[in-house]
Symmetry: C2
Subunit: 187 residues, 2 copies
DNA sequence: CTGATTCTGTGCATTAATTCACGACTTCAA
DNA sequence: TTGAAGTCGTGAATTAATGCACAGAATCAG
């Protein structure tokens, strides 16, 4: 854990917060660099010290969240069931609900949705409950299953945010846990 | 209106916010420079760039508020009645209620209370309804009246904050306005 | 009292952020 | 089509903030 300069952390956090807030108000295309800098209360020049453009800023923000979720998964990996795993997911989603609401709800969300799905596919890859044979056909069948479950999870998360998080994280985790167990262990 | 460097404004605002927050939690004596810097998320060194010590920080914060109120008074001075004047006061108090709650509520408030009273005495000095003669006796009588009304106002504001602002600003302004009119014009 | 610990105020070298200015590019209305 | 206004990305000089280290003062427990 290397120590990061306070100023860098504050500038980046302000910029990340700013872009999310602005995406809540208007389309990503409509947001200018100046908008972001103003909202972050930071010089326009400072943004360029950290990011090449607004796309880079959004990319890095997305990668950071994906990376956080991955770390959370790995740290709470000790023989945790699917329900427990789902709980840490949904708790993370809730903590950063502004980010996920914006990026799963708005029009420009296509890129993030893909990145999000990709993450879950990677997690499912690791799951040994889904180990088919090593021949070509059974490998593809395994891929079908992975795509099936990954899309299902992403779809549920999207639904959750688009409907204003109508159920608490623990209930969501319980239900997702049940659904995953049914599909992963009964084979 | 000279432009102040963004970094200076942010550092000072963070430090001022921090010291108020901390005074809500513990006695001013118990607060260390490190506490303030940590809460403000700023280097300890930065505090010394702007203030000589924590007392200086608190002093400047107090002076700033007094100065703000004075400016507000002057700008809305155009033939405004006592009720109108009281309204801008109480609206300001409400906007900065954390500051006033802390500094009129805590033990270490003695200094601020004095400074606050001093301000109102100055405002009352300006009031021509309170113009006695120029001889020694009537000047002293005038001072009695000023002390009387100044203490009354401060007392009411103290009461308002110690009781969690039980009445809205406009009601407070109305009542204070009535009381001042009764005492200032009926002579 | 005494030793340990924390807090304070400061010097110093380094790094980040800011302001300002500039030319190129885009947008959009006249 | 042209001109005005806004945006972008960058260079350069300046200023503010940081991290670190240190010595002296204050605080506190044994």
């Amino acid at each position: 854990m290397l120590k990061i300069d306070r100023r860098i952390r504050k500038s980046q956090e302000a910029l990340k917060k700013a872009v999310i807030e602005l995406m809540l108000e208007k389309d990503f295309d409509q947001i200018t660099i100046q908008d972001i800098a103003d909202r972050a209360d930071v010089s326009r020049r400072t943004l360029y010290l950290h990011y090449t453009d607004k796309f880079d800023l959004l990319d890095k923000l997305i990668e950071e969240h994906i990376s956080n979720i991955r770390e959370i998964c790995e740290s709470s990996d000790d023989a945790a069931g699917y329900t427990e795993m789902g709980l840490v997911w949904f708790e993370y989603f809730e903590t950063h609900s502004m980010f996920f609401s914006v990026l799963l709800g708005s029009k420009g969300s296509v890129f993030f949705r893909g990145r999000f799905l990709e993450f879950f596919l990677g997690e499912l890859e690791k799951d040994n409950s889904l180990s088919g044979g090593s021949d070509k056909d059974s490998a593809n069948i395994r891929n079908v299953d992975i795509q099936f479950l990954g899309s299902a999870i992403v779809g549920v998360v999207e639904w959750w945010f688009k409907n204003g998080q109508p159920l608490p994280p623990d209930v969501m985790a319980q239900r997702i846990g049940n659904l995953l167990e049914r599909n992963l262990e009964a084979r």
